[in-house]
Amino acid sequence: MTQTTAQAPSPLAGLFAGRRWRSLRESLIAYLFVFPAFLIIGTFGLFPLAFSVYVSLHRWRIIPGKYLGLDQYAKALDGLAYVAGLWLVVLLVYGVVRSLLDAHHESQETGDHPWAWLVPALVTSTGLFLFVRFLVVLFPEVLAIAEKVKGVQRTQELFLTLLGEAWRVPQVVSSRTTAMLVLIAGLALAYGFSRWVSAGPRSATYYMRFIIVFIMLGCGIALGWLTLTEIQSAYAAAAEEGESIRLWSQILAMSIGIIALVVVWQLSSRMRFAGWTTTLLVLGGGALALGAKLLVDSGQVTAIELLLIPAGVVALFFSWRAWQTARNAPTTRGLVAWVLASIAMMLAAWLLIAEVPTGIQAGYDDWWEGLLHTVYYVLFTVPIELVLGLFLAILLFQNIKGKGFFRLIYFLPYVTNPVAAASVFRVIFSSRVSAPINSLLNLVGIDNLMWLDEPKGIFQMLFPALDIPPALAGPSLALFVICLYGIWTYAGYNTVVFLAGLGSIPTPLYEAAAIDGAGRWQQFRHVTLPLLSPTTYFLSLIAVIGTFKAFNHLWVLRSGAALGTTDTASIVIFNEFNRNTRYGYASALALVLMGLILVLTMINSRIAEEKVFYG
């Protein structure tokens, strides 16, 4: 590098050339360094996302089949698939409007004239869409090469010939040429604009922004079109069978429910509740609503209703809170606003409890039940793990002999091999009469239980006299054992992380609290808990998301006799894929799961913004 500068004729020009050469060389080296990792992560980490979408739009049983559109999503989620599709469209349109408004404000501030850039951006983004179409046309041809080389001597030449053939298929050629032409036209237009029409320092940003606007618009139109055709074909299918369906009213009902929930959420951040009253009220309200529901339906409750009723109850609760706040509102306007909010939320509650379940009852039962099992699993593990972990951490965070040893052992269940550890649970909680836990129960005089083979819900087993309908019987005993495994694994992990969190709380705070006369409990409540909230938030996020992704121990502890009552979302996806070989359907379910995890993460981080105290 230094040599290049030395050899250059003029020192100044040489320095410049040397610098340019050097930064180019640096970039090349960087790309070379990054390339292998990106090849692998791109192929097995990023590409799968796009590929999943592609597979999920097709009937795909081991080999690719016909194009189905959103059919498989509709099959899995019923009405909710349409709602999700339409709402995504709304979000995309919102993004477009927002982006255009931003551009407008910026241009007013700076005095630019950005709107001319809409033209080259439109052409370029059309080119990009055409390019994607080219990839979609090319893709099956490339995929089919694997079929063509079956039973033939595999050589590199053969592969390259076949690849060349795929490249020259008429459709591929035409889509490729149009995409290239339009793309080049777009770029040329952009170049021309920057030279002669609307030059300016910010033109590149406008160009990029408008390209993104058009891409969002295009995606919105495509998704909207897909969803609408899906709804139409559902109506057509129903008409053929002589049934009448009311998809639109269901979609409307669910959408209003969602809007109201978002409103509730926004309002809730402005209200202050005492934690215990909230919990008690929500639980009590939930019990009441469930009771009412049971009376009405005489025990006919499905899994999905059980998932949505709590949401309705929460909305009801908030409507009550809004009503309370309204009474104390200082101004008439505030009063009206709160009363309106309360009515809106009443509406949301009613819609969620009454309308939504019928809107999605035709969905894939295994899937909804899988989600219900996942929720059970979260409810029966995460709070217990966190409390246990915090309790043990506080005990350990004292002047104790052998602290390192305790920590070593507590962490052990977390680091072991999940298959091996779960296999012991299979032995301990086996349904054999002579199995360890059953023997222990016999010692105390309790009858044998089926444990991992027991599909019956635990509430039903606790109160055998009552005739509890299946959906209310709680997680099956088998799932409960799996929850025990989860607690066993994660309690120690939480202990270790909480210990680290406790170590970072400054001691003077405790001393100050002690001087002010705070007792142990008050110190814990007002110093330890708030200062630990980032740790608690981190652990709960990891735990909830981890639960939605969990697979290994669930698979090991799965027993046929438990009749699928332990199958969570991941297990359902794995079975659809591996056992039923429905690749397309499994992809659709996996993408829905991913969306769910994304939404959960977003809600979690919103809650964190409001509740977590970072010193």
Partner: protein, 309 residues
């Protein structure tokens, strides 16, 4: 949960020193009875916790040394230690093969990870290039992807690659190793570490005429031993414990890794509980040994990064 007396012990802990005996004594003198009861309670709970944490492991080892009759009966400890169970699992249960498979898979995966992740992490930490931030954020999005989304597409990709390429991927080492040879998490971890290394080191290396590769290999790597150990340990554990993907891409014993093999064994040899437990002990042993030797990396690395095990 912190009393006046203990707040002083808290402070001394924060200072990283052993508690001076004088302070504890003064705390005890203030309220001797209460502290003792509290301490007894503490130890009782902690020991009970240890028992729960250990019991499954104890049961695993104990059952693995029983006869079949004892294992399915109501025995707590075997009357005669049946070491033969291990030979049976190792030889007849083919755990020797599975063990060797997993060792090979781990070696290939981890060496790939070291090479590819170090290179990428170095570029992200040290070199300026166009699109760096974009590429890095693209990389981080893969951390959000649940494994379930990748099953179907990766299975199709791997089958395709095996059909068109010179060697099959399914039921062979490539499907089990290559997809895991680079991970966004490791690149992120290493990049954070490399970014802390002072620029002076690079300047002086450059003056000595070293290029990026030489600087990376001869200077950066030797001082990054701690970070690399973490990467190796995580890679080892991830690869050793993997279940879903190996079950998808292996259906014969030839390359079946040990976790998938143990799962297979649990299904196939349903009633041979003692052999199953012997297999479980064989599967778990390398992990436990590593944990005992590199405990610090585990508790610090995992606790601070929140890696799922």
């Amino acid at each position: 949960m912190v009393s006046k007396g203990e707040s002083s012990t808290l402070m001394s802990r924060a200072q990283g020193a052993r508690v001076p005996p004088a302070r504890t004594q003064s705390a005890k003198a203030r309220n001797p009875r209460r502290l003792d009861v509290w301490m007894i309670f503490t130890y009782a709970v902690l020991v009970f916790g240890i028992t729960i944490a250990i019991l499954p492991f104890f049961w695993m080892v104990s059952t693995s040394l029983m006869t079949l009759g004892e294992a399915t009966g109501r025995t707590f400890v075997p009357s005669v230690l049946q070491w033969g169970n291990y030979t049976e699992a190792w030889v007849d249960g083919k755990f020797s093969e599975y063990f060797a498979n997993s060792v090979q898979i781990v070696l290939i995966t981890v060496s790939g990870q070291i090479v590819f992740c170090t290179l990428a992490a170095y570029a992200f930490a040290r070199i300026k290039f166009a699109g760096k931030d974009f590429l890095f954020s693209l990389l981080l999005t893969t951390l959000m992807l649940p494994e379930a989304v990748t099953w179907v597409p990766n299975f199709i990709t791997v089958t395709w690659l095996g059909r068109i390429g010179p060697i099959p991927w399914v039921n062979n080492w490539p499907a089990l190793t290559i997809p895991f040879m680079a991970s966004a998490f490791n690149i992120f971890l290493l990049r954070q570490f490399f970014a802390q290394i002072p620029d002076d080191l690079w300047d002086s290396a450059q003056i000595d005429g070293a290029g990026h590769l030489r600087y990376l290999v001869q200077i950066i790597l030797p001082i990054s031993r701690a970070a690399l150990t973490t990467v190796v340990i995580f890679g080892f554990i991830g690869s050793w414990n993997a279940l879903a993907w190996p079950m998808l891409v292996t259906n014969s014993d030839e390359w079946r890794p040990i976790s998938a093999a143990l799962m297979h064994f649990l299904d196939e040899a349903g009633s041979y509980v003692h052999l199953q437990m012997a297999g479980a002990v064989i599967t778990i042993a390398p992990i436990l040994v590593t944990y005992l030797f590199a405990q610090k990396q585990f508790t610090e690395g995992i606790a601070t990064s929140g890696l799922k095990g």
